[in-house]
Symmetry: C2
Subunit: 318 residues, 2 copies
């Protein structure tokens, strides 16, 4: 098995928005990329996606030798993976299709090579059932576009070997991604559970005429979204507690968990959960005081406001 440091050729199977985004990312990081997609015009669309992303990737900084010319679109799945050091599957989100495809990929890929699925939420345990060697199959869940949003969530299934999970996590890090390695399979992993809750609430609001699509988007980009690029929802909320941090926030806003502010019922805020959240925030703060975190958030949000051009279009008095 090639070590994560020595990967040279990556195969991307499925070349839609996500698969194509992976292709662009791996090309920019200096890999040879082979790609296959069964759609008749997939190759053309893929090259268009890569061309459109390339100026962005240049501005991010390319790896030595990176070039869109190092992409090969193959006629068959087997050609795409036969010499790959790593395989990224990004097929449509249908369980049967994923299950069959992963079995085909397993049959065609050199022994020992790790195969990752971009699935948005299927547990690998459910997808690896038809493969002869399920031990090398992992989830490597990216966010759109994979060439720009760093996060990848990595988790194995019941029949995945721990070494394959570790290999994939290390490889993604080397390839410039931010990795969360999960110990347990949770449908939707972590980030998708969070954004799916928000998305479903948004759909309910549209369905009930409570907000327009435009209001929903504006409420995030001018509101919480500015903070979330800088600091996650937990530490952000800890700062709503003032000098008392998360404990004070929970004392103050804990009762709001009973309020009809969303259609999602909250868990009971018992002592165990209260303590876990407070301790988790302390751990995440990692020695930074509330004042440190406030200063850090403020610096970050100012930079984000500046970077997104918002400082030019505020009140008359400016």
């Amino acid at each position: 098995m090639t070590s994560p440091e020595n990967v040279r050729r990556v195969a991307c199977v499925g070349a839609g928005v996500i698969g194509g985004g992976w292709v662009a990312h791996f090309l920019a990081r200096g890999y040879d990329v082979t790609a296959w997609d069964p759609a008749p015009d997939a190759g053309r669309k893929l090259r268009r996606l890569v061309d459109a992303a390339w100026p962005t990737l240049i501005s991010l900084g390319l790896a030595d030798g990176a070039s869109p010319d190092r992409l090969t679109v193959t006629d068959t799945l087997e050609q795409a993976v036969s010499e790959a050091d790593f395989v990224q599957e990004s097929a449509p989100e249908k369980l049967d299709l994923k299950r069959d495809l992963l079995a085909r990929l397993d049959a065609a890929t050199p022994a020992g090579v790790v195969i990752a699925s971009s699935t948005s939420g299927y547990p690998m345990t459910d997808m690896q059932t038809a493969a002869a060697d399920p031990s090398r199959l992992v989830v490597g869940h990216p966010f759109n576009p994979p060439y720009l949003v760093p996060l990848v969530e990595v988790v194995g299934g019941e029949h995945t070997h721990a070494s394959a999970v570790a290999w994939a996590s290390r490889f993604y890090e080397i390839a410039g991604k931010s990795v969360i390695t999960m110990d347990n399979e949770v449908p939707g992993f972590i980030a998708n559970r969070l954004q799916e809750a928000l998305w479903r609430e948004a759909l309910h609001m549209v369905a009930n005429g409570e907000a327009t699509v435009r209001d929903i988007d504006l409420s995030i980009t001018e509101g919480p979204g500015l903070r979330w690029a800088v600091m996650g929802p937990m530490l952000t909320f800890a700062l709503a507690g003032g000098e008392g941090g998360m404990a004070h926030m929970l004392d103050h806003f804990g009762p709001s968990l009973k309020s009809p502010w969303t259609r999602l019922e909250a868990p009971e805020l018992d002592k165990q959960l209260y303590d876990a959240v407070v301790a988790g925030c302390d751990e995440a703060a990692d020695g930074r005081s509330i004042a440190d975190l406030v200063a850090e958030r403020d610096r970050g949000v100012v930079e984000v406001l500046r970077a997104t051009g918002r400082l030019d279009r505020e009140g008359d008095s400016r």
Copy 2:
């Protein structure tokens, strides 16, 4: 009644994290600010908050004549509001307390002056019941910290006069905020419903040992949070549909609404909702093509990555 353009003196009642953040914002925008809070050490804490925020406010750009010296902390509520052109209430989130306080503020504030509540989610209809003149009471819901996050959600109650809602929306705009004016009262308004859904899902995950606080925060700051500073969740998801936009995204991911990716049950994706979401995205795109939106998102995310220092700490190959 003073016109929104001619407001000189703003009263902030309640000077905790949110009230203090409003004080800092209004000072930075060049207003005289009077503040009152019943806590014994509130004045000291408030000045500390303003001092801590001031360097940030300088970097954002102060209005002419803005100074922390234009803050007066008063001994009584009545002193704070007696000469105010606008009142912002930011008391603890308890309905009885808000109801009584708004009645007291109404009694002490000059006739015709608009009084806004920072409530995180109570409908004004439920809070205005004890006031002699409920017609001037509105919700003006900010995000923490109010001196930095632009969004304010404005909505009236059943007994609020439409002119008070319009006055408040206009005043906030002049004072440098981004305003969403809502026609109907929805508990939690818009942004809080969305972030509360995410927060409750996060609490469930901690309660069930599915993710740590640190993982939750990382999953947002390295993932969807980077996009949400630039483009809201609806248009962001439209781009997951590739050249087919939101319609293709719903075709592709619609079935995932049945998946257990969150504890929040989704609405039925019937034709009416499908059409409303697609049409809403078209309207929000406002003539921009999918390619335009992709380019805009990419430019924005690159700037956010740069602004938050992420370009310096990626893969070895960079």
